[in-house]
């Protein structure tokens, strides 16, 4: 199993009440605090590299939850500051991009600088992102796939310019330099929440599929949809390396200490989001519009959030404890979903101090990571080992 260190780079020093995203003004952002946070988050990635983790980065906009607003910039920094780990951007919000060719260029450049350590994710983007990007909520899937297909064609065309006149973007001279370091192109990842049809699209193209903070039953359903699509299309049975999952993770010497880490991570839950931003008309299904109009929550993870830490632990979305316990929980999760090849560990969150983060990362890196690496693709290995 491959393990990827991840922090959303939060800016936690905001008012206790009121919105955290979309409408919170940057008057509450202190640039010097921000500078220290960026420094510290990058230091943690450098430590992760030394401990043997790979790296995952994302981006969000107009939010205190994530000041990593430009994932490619962070990946570029890590391409120079780290030496060993693979660098995963998960992902480029391609549905929200006005210029997908710029994305193809950025990724190609980082791939070359890093000597082929880049893995390129593309995401449809969460609901809050529609507002800063002004993306039509009803067209996000179309934009995602048109954008991904265009980037892939741009990466793999080497005999000079081609043109593109599609639904969302027009180009007369696409000719991407540099060529990607990895040939024919870096590994591609796509995320998904609940749309099984979209998962099948990922499967047919042979990309890696990632799911975040969902209960294990839902994750298994999504992975099954992927496996089914391969079977239906006569494609080889996908191995665990095709699948990724991101839980909150905190590792400590004692269960009591682990609980403190869990509390920090849970900052992300109960995000005080307003219904017009969390359930915009068009982003999800007709049922979601009806639910919103009737004042009900349409979030597929609402029950998980309402259940809090105990339910999240039970469902595998919050994996905390001593190294032995963390290892067992991960293996159990992998077995429940039919084999997990990539664990994206969100092991920093909210106001979790640097020292706590380092302690948890180091314990995981020394006590858990070697055992997971040894598992390889042998996901049936029992936790008792």
């Amino acid at each position: 199993m491959e393990v990827w260190h991840f922090t959303e780079m939060p800016y936690p020093e905001i008012p206790a009440d009121g919105p955290r995203a979309v409408t919170l003004g940057s008057e509450v952002f202190d640039p010097e605090i921000g500078r220290r946070l960026y420094e510290r988050y990058f230091d943690e990635y450098v430590l992760a590299d030394e401990l043997g983790f790979n790296h995952m980065l994302n981006e969000h906009h107009a939010t205190a939850g994530c000041i990593n607003v430009a994932g490619p910039l962070s990946c570029a920094i890590l391409a120079r500051q780290t030496k060993k780990g693979r660098i995963l951007i998960l992902g480029n919000p391609i549905a929200n991009r006005s210029d997908p060719i710029r994305v193809a260029e950025e990724m190609a450049m980082i791939d070359v600088i890093s000597g082929g350590r880049l893995e390129v994710g593309f995401v449809r983007g969460v609901t809050n992102e529609l507002f800063p990007a002004n993306t039509n909520p009803a067209l996000t899937y179309e934009r995602l796939w048109d954008g991904v297909d265009l980037v892939l064609k741009a990466w793999t065309t080497h005999d000079g310019p081609f043109n593109y006149e599609g639904r969302f973007w027009h180009y007369r001279n696409i000719n991407v330099w540099p060529r990607t370091y990895q040939q024919p192109h870096p590994p591609v990842w796509i995320t998904g929440g609940s749309n099984a049809e979209n998962v099948k699209e990922v499967a047919r193209r042979g990309y890696k599929f990632a799911s975040f903070l969902q209960p294990h039953e839902a994750v298994k359903k999504l992975f099954d949809a992927y496996r089914d699509a391969c079977a239906e299309d006569g494609l080889p049975t996908p191995g665990p390396e095709r699948f990724a999952y991101m839980p909150f993770v905190f590792t400590a010497e004692t269960e009591k200490e682990a609980q403190v880490g869990a509390d920090h991570l849970m900052w992300y839950i109960g995000g005080r989001s307003q219904p017009q931003f969390s359930n915009p008309t068009g982003y999800s299904t007709l049922d979601a519009v009806v639910a919103g109009m009737r004042g009900q929550s349409a979030s597929r993870t609402a029950f998980l959030r309402q259940g809090g830490a105990p339910l999240m632990r039970e469902k595998g979305a919050l994996i905390v404890g001593t190294p032995d316990s963390v290892y067992k929980q991960i293996v159990e999760f992998s077995e429940r979903v039919g084999g997990l090849g990539n664990l994206l560990v969100m092991q920093q969150g909210g106001a979790m101090p640097h020292e706590d983060t380092v302690r948890s990362m180091t314990l995981f890196g020394k006590e858990v990571l070697p055992r997971l690496k040894k598992l390889g693709g042998n996901i049936a290995a029992k936790a008792a080992e």
Binding site: F131, A138, Q274, Q276, T281, V290, M293, R294
Partner: protein, 262 residues
Amino acid sequence: MDVSLTQSPSVMTLNGIDVAVTRQGSGAPLLLLTNEDGTEAGSKLVDLLAKDFEVIVPDAPGFGASPDDERLTNVDDIAYLYLDLIDHLKLRDVRLVGFSLGGWIAAEMATKSCQNLGRIALVDSYGIKIGGPYDRDIADIYVLPRDDLAARTYGDPSRAPDFATMDEAAVRVIARNRLATVRYCWEPYMHNPKLLGRLHRISVPTFVVWGEKDGIVTPAYGRAYAAAIPGAVFETMAGAGHLPQLEQPERAAAMLRDFLKN
């Protein structure tokens, strides 16, 4: 003997596009273009107008009883579709009435061709940009909190429908209309940057009616709309918000009838 008395929609195909059309009443043809929720359909307003006119209510693709059709992507497409509908039904001297989004569609149609139009009434219509890039000419219904939205939409916010207690099938129809509206109108938000400069092409008598308490598109916006249409008459309705035809159907029907009967 009068087939136009039927109220159930029939689906017709125009250049391969399926459009559901409901016809009610008899008399001169009145093409009624609903607001984005489609809530004039089957309302008291239509019953009242159907006493003097044959009221024809089409559903654009994705709305009401019309299936989705991804080939249509903006209001311009709907305007051409409805001009095709007028041709297909061989309508002449059409009274064209549009509410909110329907008013925007009506204005687009009239700037393209007034050939078969007799008179036009636009009620609290979207469609034009009058201010600069930093001006919010049309309140953002996708961002406003629900209470604020109700206060801006209704002269008397207690008239706002309670979707929590409304029959679920009815809520689903409105929800689907809202999905379609997002698809057509998210960007540019509820307007066509070119429309204002084309309104001078409207060559038939035009009546612009506005709820004086409309907080989505204000009466000042309505006056600017009317001022750009040659000879247009502008009137407000006291006590009404963005949907005067639903808040005060008798009064709205009377005002429209007086103008459209001529």
